[in-house]
């Protein structure tokens, strides 16, 4: 590629008229789907806002292959080879974590779109994120289950080898136990693994305990199959979940069986929060002819936050950009107003949606807890 021609080692001489921003995502491998969603967002943002400081912004996409070893190399390559000034990504907290040391040591800021694992930004001044964290989301769903569904007993089925699902399940559990004041409010926590397709015995087991609600954090394909199989087994208990469910495929796969499934997410197109949301929605629908996923909006926002920081820094020096990213406050993104806290995490509202008539329908907005 063209980037190869840049002299390596020694004093960095970047191309003068372009600013490179790395997009660090799983393009191939098991998480390719999620990666693609975020890339869409970043690319759309780049198309709409192609310039900053009078220079063209170029996205350099690096595939982390859904693999931790590769992820570290890909991140190192972005930083050293492509001389990017900042990085967007990655879907999948573990890949972000693998890049953590590199961005910190090389002092290049990274903004994750949807990595919700608290460890990503913890103790790393160079990692940020534009989404909320699992603890918040867990609380939101616990509240919803307790208040709106009147649930007092809940069963959890979680994707045990997925850090996101394990974390979310735990935060939900803590919050729900606190709400009910009942140490046994969680009847059972049952597990499955990524790629599993048969959940019948897990479902039968938890249905025997008669929970009011089943909380099922995990990948959307598996989740859709879980709900589908539950219906086939005649289990008529409401399912609630997390932000990963908000993909068209969740409905495609689940069809009428996922009707009524409720989950929390970052953003809704029904109630555009900012003017940026409307621009994003319009352009996305025009380009792709469908409704965007939340993580796409977040990928879009990650780009904008970086761009904004470059603008404010008036420089392409990664360290200066980092300092400006850290100061991001009340920034109007497509998926809501973004304010980064001292950990570099976004403090923002969550949205609750339900599947109705084959579409995601907005239910409620939950403001962040101070």
């Amino acid at each position: 590629g063209c980037s190869e021609k840049a002299p390596t080692g020694g004093g960095a001489t970047t191309d003068d008229d372009v600013i490179k921003i790395g997009v660090f995502e799983p393009i191939t491998g098991a998480n390719a789907a999620g990666g693609a969603l975020e890339v869409e967002g970043a690319q759309l943002a780049n198309k709409l806002y192609p310039e900053v400081l009078g220079k063209k912004v170029e996205l350099v996409i690096a595939d982390n292959k859904s693999d931790v070893v590769e992820a570290a190399s890909a991140a190192a390559r972005l930083v050293e080879r492509d001389k990017v000034v900042a990085i967007i990504g990655s879907w999948g907290s573990s890949y972000s974590m693998a890049a953590g040391d590199i961005v910190r040591n090389q002092k290049v800021p990274a903004v994750a779109a949807s990595a919700t694992n608290p460890l990503v930004t913890l103790d790393n001044d160079f990692y940020f994120r534009v989404c909320f964290l699992d603890p918040f989301q867990g609380t939101v769903m616990a509240n919803y289950a307790y208040n709106n569904l009147g649930a007092r007993k809940v069963a959890i089925i979680r994707e045990v080898n997925n850090d996101y699902a394990v974390g979310l399940a735990k935060f939900f559990e803590d919050a729900f136990v606190e709400l009910t004041g009942d140490a046994n409010a969680i009847l059972e926590v049952t597990n499955y693994n990524t790629g599993d397709q048969d959940f019948s015995s897990q479902l039968l087991n938890i249905s025997q305990k008669n929970p009011d609600v089943i909380f099922a954090p995990g990948n959307f394909t598996e989740s859709a199959l879980i709900i589908k199989q539950a219906k086939q087994l005649g289990i008529d208990i409401p399912f609630i979940g997390g932000d990963t469910w908000e993909t068209p495929e969740f409905i495609d796969i689940g069809q009428q069986d996922v009707e009524g499934a409720v989950f929390s997410t970052f953003f809704t197109s029904e109630v555009p929060i900012t003017s940026e949301s409307e621009i994003f929605l319009k352009e996305y629908r025009a380009q792709y002819g469908k409704e965007p996923a939340a993580v796409t909006a977040l990928g879009y926002d990650a780009y904008l936050v970086i761009l904004d920081a470059i603008e404010r820094a008036g420089s392409t020096d990664p360290e200066k950009i980092r300092d400006e990213i850290a100061k991001t406050k009340n920034f109007p993104g497509a998926a809501g107003i973004i304010t980064l806290d001292e950990n570099g995490d976004a403090v923002k509202s969550a949205v609750i949606k339900v599947v109705r008539n084959g579409e995601f329908v907005y239910l409620d907005t939950i403001e962040p807890i101070e």
């Binding site: 063209c2 890909a74 460890l119």
Partner: protein
């Protein structure tokens, strides 16, 4: 060894050391990372070659041993504060919380734990043959991974570990790779090494010549696992973050690929192949990027790299059935012969 060869060997080792010093000061972190990976894959490749290439056991359990090494080394080198930060969902078991040891002992303990596990697994599994051994060892490595996913208060489960001290550097990785090479060469040329090769050639004959099959297979298996553990430890402390998903079968396959391409039963081949495959895969990244032809800009096709890589792999395997080196080893004589264009250096047996 001839005097000439000793001198040449000393010269090349000095050149390597000079190169490492140069690389350390002048290379960027990306290049250094790739070099580190090359050296680590050399260790992993050699350890697997001992089991699969020299002893002829068909073992696909390497990722499991690496996982043990990586986790043990990481947990032993992480300070208590970092551990507590990591284990925010479920606290770490107390006996692990406060142990912190320096890198080298941690690596060794990692290797030894992998070796102990290999010993336990080996007792039942090494009785199996061929494909059955392959699938059983693959199974064990998957079981290790699944156990690591589910023992949250020891391994932090799916969350993985992060902020592992970045201790691995060129000196560690190349130093240990060099030690591994020397160890393997010395082992292979010793009476024990020859016994292992005899087992590969013909188990029944080897046993009839007084070679205890089980004991020697176990020896290779345990030593291989030890080095796999050390390699895994180096890898974990290079990456700084590990999780159970990373130790899937594909990791074993990467190592297998290296030894098959290099030549099963050739130490030289493994070393060459570890460097070629690791850096080659990085180089192919170009395919995923957009290509600027000056007048038009071709968009990169995501995933094309892996398609090209897997087809290259198959082509290489098809045309170099016995790998680049077969079972041959580098020797100075061979090199000179090659320079004089004698074919004896890379002589391949036909119809094997």
């Amino acid at each position: 060894m001839k005097k000439r060869d000793i001198i040449l060997t000393i010269i090349s080792i000095s050149v390597l050391i000079l190169f490492l010093m140069f690389a350390n000061s002048r290379f960027d972190s990306y290049q250094i990372r790739i070099l580190n990976l090359c050296a680590i894959y050399t260790i992993l490749g050699l350890s697997m070659n001992l089991i699969n290439g020299f002893t002829g056991l068909f073992s696909l359990g390497h990722a499991g041993f690496m996982a043990i090494g990586a986790y043990v080394t990481a947990l032993l080198t992480m300070p208590a504060a970092v551990k507590n930060q990591n284990f925010f969902l479920q606290p770490i078991v107390p006996w692990l919380e406060n142990v912190t040891v320096p890198f080298l002992p941690a690596l060794l303990i990692g290797g030894i734990m992998a070796a102990i596990l290999a010993f336990i697994i080996g007792a039942p599994v090494l009785r199996l043959r061929g494909d059955y051994l392959a699938i059983a060892t693959l199974g064990f490595s998957e079981i290790i991974r699944i156990v690591f996913t589910n023992t949250q208060n020891i391994t932090n489960g799916a969350l993985g570990l992060k902020s592992i001290p970045n201790t691995t550097n060129l000196w560690w990785s190349f130093g240990l790779a060099a030690l591994t090479i020397i160890f393997m060469l010395s082992l292979i040329n010793s009476s024990y090494g020859k016994a292992l090769k005899a087992i590969r050639e013909d188990e029944i004959a080897a046993e009839s010549m007084g070679i205890g099959l089980f004991r020697h297979k176990m020896l290779a298996f345990v030593i291989g696992a030890f080095f796999a553990g050390v390699g895994g430890g180096l890898l974990g402390n290079l990456l700084g973050a590990i999780n159970p998903v990373m130790f899937r079968f594909i990791l074993t396959f990467n190592v297998l690929l290296i030894i098959v391409l290099g030549g099963m039963g050739s130490i030289t081949g493994t070393v060459i192949s570890a460097f070629v495959v690791t850096s080659g895969l990085e180089y192919l990244r170009v395919l995923d990027e957009s290509i600027n032809l000056g007048f038009v800009r071709l968009p990169g096709i995501p995933g094309l790299r892996m398609v090209v890589f897997s087809s290259l792999l198959m082509i290489v395997v098809i045309f170099f059935r016995n790998g680049l080196m077969g079972t041959n080893e580098f020797s100075w004589d061979g090199l000179f012969a090659l320079l004089r264009k004698r074919p004896s250096f890379l002589k391949r047996e036909v119809g094997r």
